[in-house]
Amino acid sequence: MTVALKCEQVAKKIVKASPGAVIAADSTAIVVKSESLYQVAEFLKNTPALGFDYLANLTAVDYLDYFEVVYNLVSLQHNHSLVLKTRCRDRDKPAVPSVVSLWRSADFQEREIYDLMGIVFDGHPNLKRLLLWEGFVGHPLRRDYL
């Protein structure tokens, strides 16, 4: 059985490594500041006791006040999982750092979020629309699109 790690405990470890990164940690997820996302992701991947080597799912939700990007992380080695989140409030040009250099599974998934939700992933090597065509206006999965 994949064990969902206790977010509060992992959050404590994160705060030790990069102070001020964690905004909130409840029973389901850890929310971190978007500017420290890459640092936290690197920490989660490279700390041997955590060892999150597998980014199973990456998606985004539009809550109108803010966008939330959700990372479902798994460690195949330890068989445990964690949900990491980050938020951005700017509706005109939301941006989050890319994690493609850590987990390449983020490649298509970040492009998909950019395409459908309009969130820019800084540092993505090839950020362009994935499913819709070039020249399409708007981002359909935003709640205010239709």
């Binding site: 994949t2 199973a56 799912n57 390449r104 599974s105 994935l130 499913l131």
Partner: protein, 367 residues
């Protein structure tokens, strides 16, 4: 004087017999050798995630049929499990078993199709596919008995399944399960030692273990690279913990291993089916669930081991009748990330079979 050469860009697809649907790749070639590749997708995009946000939880089930249409009941299964996790619904025992029977036969059916078309891509035009489809056809007859459909079943419901199986179903299913090992032996006899198949697939287009994990490959593609990771064992859902079965794992991660793992998985599915049929209890097939389900505010990520890999559903509920966010994690889209790594330095003909060995379904990639 040296001959002046330059790389050649070839557009393969979206209308190409070997691309298993409307898939296009932009391949840069040096002579016949692949030097770069970029998948171009979206030709089958129907906006299923957006559609889902305006439909009730039950109305979404037929939409999931249209993801991986080769194994559509598995998609139903993944989706209803995620909703049940979100709403905290318990389902009757008989429904659990019926779901397992459907999911495992779907796995065999999908693998038969994958291996058949893989051989098609190798140049064994249509003959192996027909052998594989002979058995798949019998399964489709069984599904037709259960729900009247042969492709988009819409059989599972939140809380169970739409109806109990008819009287004549179980004997027919038992007969199919009893016969199937013999047919798998026959496929092995024809293929596993076949000189052409070995020459074309052994050591060809290897996906190293570390790359497979880093790109989050799943299903047979991941296991062929030597990673023992099957969600039925690693994170058991439904009642999989009750069954005794092995997880076949490849050694090298080449095209042969991806073929081999699928054939072995089909054998293991037969084992699960034998146990499930023997243990199948009597009783109700669907729990009492309100027609307009309003799950509590919250979110859930539910994932299962679909034939092609980890199929996940991420749902956010705001306590209304439709999900606030409905996201699908398609296994083959993410497995496709590995295609470029596998084929660079190999010839165009190897690219075609490697693409076949990933076993993609465009309905799921484009959504």
């Amino acid at each position: 004087m040296a001959i002046r050469t330059e790389p050649f860009i070839l557009n393969m697809g979206p209308q190409h017999p070997s691309t298993h649907g409307v898939f296009r790749m932009r391949v840069t070639l040096d002579g016949e050798v692949v030097v770069d590749l970029e998948p171009v997708i979206g030709y089958l995009h129907r906006g299923i995630e957006k559609l889902g946000e305006t439909r009730t939880y039950t109305q979404i089930i037929p939409l999931t049929d249209r993801l991986d249409y080769v194994a559509s009941m598995t998609n139903n299964f993944a989706y209803v499990l995620a909703v049940e996790k979100l709403a905290g619904i318990e389902i009757p025992e008989r429904a659990e078993y019926l779901r397992i029977i459907m999911a495992e036969t779907m796995r065999i059916s999908s693998h038969l199709m994958a291996v058949g078309f893989f051989l098609n891509d190798l140049g064994a035009m249509m003959t192996p596919v027909l052998y594989m489809w002979r058995e798949r056809e019998k399964l489709l007859d069984l599904y037709e008995m259960v729900c009247g459909q042969r492709l988009t079943y819409n059989y599972m419901r939140i809380g169970g399944v739409s109806q109990d199986v008819p009287e004549e179903f179980m004997p027919a299913m038992k007969k199919w399960v009893a016969e199937m090992p013999r047919f798998i032996d026959e496929y092995d006899q024809l293929l596993a030692q076949n000189e052409i198949l070995l020459a074309r697939t052994k050591g060809v287009c290897i996906l190293p273990r570390d790359t497979a994990i880093n790109i989050a490959a799943s299903g047979p593609v991941l296991r062929a690279s030597g990673v023992k990771w099957d969600l039925r064992k690693a994170d058991p859902y439904s009642i999989y913990a009750r069954f005794d079965f092995e997880v076949p794992v490849g050694t090298v991660g080449d095209n042969y291993d991806r073929y081999w793992v699928r054939m072995q998985e089909a054998r293991q599915s037969i084992r699960i089916l034998e146990q499930a049929i023997a243990q199948l209890p009597e009783g109700e097939v669907c729990a009492k669930v309100p027609h307009l389900l309003r799950p509590p505010v919250g979110e859930v990520y539910g994932h299962i081991e679909a034939p092609k890999g980890e199929l996940g559903f991420y749902l956010v509920s705001d306590n209304s009748i439709a999900p606030y966010r409905f996201h699908i994690r398609p296994p083959t889209l993410i497995n496709l990330t590995a295609l470029k790594d596998m084929v660079i330095g190999w010839k165009v003909a190897d690219l075609i079979i490697t693409f076949g060995s990933i076993d993609v379904c465009l309905g799921e990639i484009d959504r």
